[in-house]
Amino acid sequence: MATKMYAGKPVEVNDEGFFLDKEAWTKDMAPEIAKEVGIDALGDKHYDVIEYIRKRVAAGEQLSMRGMGKSGVVDLKEFYQLFPGKPLKYATRISGVPKPTSCV
């Protein structure tokens, strides 16, 4: 556990940088979290993905790679391009939601 400063506010995060409270997240924090995972700038498509992720999580749904591919927001190739390396992990972290536990 640690406290980080995003958009000038202190936020509690776990060892991997995921927010402990998703309600502490605001949109203006996203670019700063993105920089930590190597994404220099967030475009509209990134924000579409973030919005989708936050909606699904708010609805109590499990996020998976397969689910992202079927989201209608991005296909998986785009998802890998938008959040290179570990798309699901990075996108959820930037979205301020817990780390997904799905294996697919």
Partner: protein, 166 residues
């Protein structure tokens, strides 16, 4: 010692079996790797070719004879001899596929698409392809190439690389 330095960078997974559970083990590991930013190569050989043969890949079976872990719904042990009843294997296999669908586990072709989307690559073993009398056009479009074991080892090289045999 830097933690970062010890992490896996590449996995090369060999799948030599054609039953549902072993093929899925290989697919889950390959997809799980690309999801984590780990390079993945998937090499199908011998009966594993079943998983990349167009006509069979979506109809994989699980063994009901000689499978001591097989159970009926409700956790009831499944006597191996019952497995010889005609249709039993198909029924057990379709039940397993249905359960997997419920758990959001993709079918074989879709899983391969997901692996490819993440930059993973799928290969067929030349020796086994020749042995089974298969041609390139019999294989799924997800198969990048038919390669020899020497070529496989070339792909498998590099630091932080592991070979996994299923």
């Amino acid at each position: 010692m830097n933690e970062e330095d010890k992490r896996l960078k590449k996995v090369c997974i060999i799948c030599a079996k054609g039953n549902l559970e072993d093929v899925y083990a290989a697919l889950v590991m390959a997809n799980g790797a690309v999801m984590e930013g780990i390079e993945a190569k998937l090499f199908f050989t011998f009966f594993g070719l079943e998983a990349i043969t167009k006509s069979h890949m979506e109809h994989l079976h699980t063994a009901v004879v000689g499978n001591p872990a097989m159970r009926l719904p409700g956790n009831i042990p499944f006597p191996s001899l019952m497995g010889i009843v005609p249709g039993m294997e198909a029924m057990a296999s379709s039940m397993m596929r249905k359960k997997m669908e419920e758990l959001d586990i993709p079918h074989v072709g879709e899983f391969m698409e997901m692996i490819e989307a993440g930059g993973g690559e799928i290969f067929a073993c030349k020796l086994a392809v020749d042995m089974f009398g298969l041609k390139k056009e019999d294989l799924s479009e997800h198969v990048k190439d038919i390669i020899t074991i020497a070529e496989f080892y070339e792909l498998a090289g590099g630091d932080h690389s592991q070979i996994i045999f299923v």
